[in-house]
Amino acid sequence: MAEKFDAIVVGAGPSGNAAAYTLAKAGMKVLQLERGEYPGSKNVQGAILYADALEKIIPDFRDDAPLERHIIEQRMWVLDDESYIGTHYRSDDFNKPPYNRYTIIRAQFDKWFSEKVQEAGAMLICETTVSDLLMDGKRVIGVQTDRLGGEIYADIVILADGVNSLLATKAGFHPEIEPKNVALAVKEIHFMPQETVEARFNVQGDAGVVIEMAGKITQGMMGTGFLYTNKESLTIGVGCMLSDLKKQKISPYQLLEQMKAHPSIAPILEGGEMKEYTAHLIPEGGYKAIPQVFGDGWMIVGDAAMFVNAMHREGSNLAMTSGCFAAETVIELADKQKPFTAKNLARYREKLDASFVIKDLKKYKNMPDVFHANSQFFTTYPEMLNQAAHKMLTVDGVDKKTKEKQIMANFKHRRSLFGLMGDALKLWRAFE
């Protein structure tokens, strides 16, 4: 196949689909390659879809996209072994269309998005793994696939190949990912009747609830857990930094199993039928870990470029937005008949810098370091908070003033007053 395309997009996840859709809509000749049997068959997400990013690409997506539930309530739990302390925020405002956040099932969602991409005119070939980039000196001129005679050429190649980013690593565009910059998440989906989901979460119709969790469930490792409601299933998962898993030698599936057995979680899952177990990496290195995202004839979008805001559990929206920016950059240059040199493609990075993608990542740039260096946020604090709540809520004849003193004494005992103040300051600085 010595055919030549205007653009090749590697990968049919949210970033690749956003890029291919935008390019095809502008009339460009686009080839999209996906290694899975169908788009989504290799992909894993929690999954929360943020409407805004998709709406900018497909304004009427709500008409036919496979959406599970719109989210009307967000819970944040900090767990100890036997208990949790947390906040719940539910608002009827979230229950009025147009909804802002939805749960989705990625295998179904990616398939739907990909159909839109093909309707827009892009050519999709599945079951094809891109094995290498074709180079002319420093310039990318196409891709090598694992199919017979699989060399394909294009003026620009957009790498939307996800967190492992093998192609850019092989080509020497960035070094191998470090264990401290990536989290491993394991996840299960449990099916149960729709009425059961609704009764357990006190919701009706298509409304849903999400629970984000931190604390003892990660056994001192930097990480979080989640439990999301779908129409007739729940997804539950936990993710920790690879550097911590490696250091502490903890098996990810045992971690998930213990989390599922937590007395506050087990009753929610009770009776459900587990139908799939998945694992996937999440690039959580943040701003400081972002690689070079463009060069002669290439751009990197989505997870492959580390565009995940771990603090807010956002990834798919950064993926879609970066995919659009890359496509727009190509379209603008093509209009002016300018070549896709690194110099001209710098426009892509400018667009990113001016948007929430880089602004948000920059805002939290110190967060990963703070959490890596202070494991007390995942051990001591969850315990302390839970013990404090337990003490205050146990009616045992001890007066409240004395209880407060005991709690404060326990705090200081566990983590000196300076330690407490220091931690507050560290967090404040990192959040600033």
Binding site: E37, Q45, P179, A279
Partner: protein, 98 residues
């Protein structure tokens, strides 16, 4: 809380199209695992339990249940002893939900 689970029971729920005889991941030098890599993190951190520790200190890799996450490649950063590729197009794990 003792909640030990066999990962095979979880993987049993998944769909795979195994590329018989063509493992997409390989250990480069089995001797490095035995004599140099003290902690053998791949044997605990792989979410599909593909790496097992033998009594003689050897590490055996069977990729049939692989979830294609990339963990084993990245945590072997001290030795870079893993050759890691995606399976051929269409092969490997096939998520129904993801």
């Amino acid at each position: 809380m003792s909640t030990h689970v066999k990962v095979e029971e979880k993987l049993f729920q998944n769909r795979y199209r195994v590329d018989g005889g063509r493992p997409h991941i390989q250990i480069k030098d089995a001797e490095v695992c035995v004599s140099q890599c003290g902690t053998q993190p791949c044997t605990v951190c792989c979410p599909a339990g593909c790496y097992t520790q033998e009594n003689n200190g050897r590490v055996v890799l069977i990729t049939d249940g692989c979830l294609e996450c990339g963990t084993c490649r990245i945590i072997c950063d001290d030795f870079r002893n893993v050759t890691w590729e995606y399976p051929r197009g269409g092969y490997g794990v096939l998520f129904k939900f993801g």
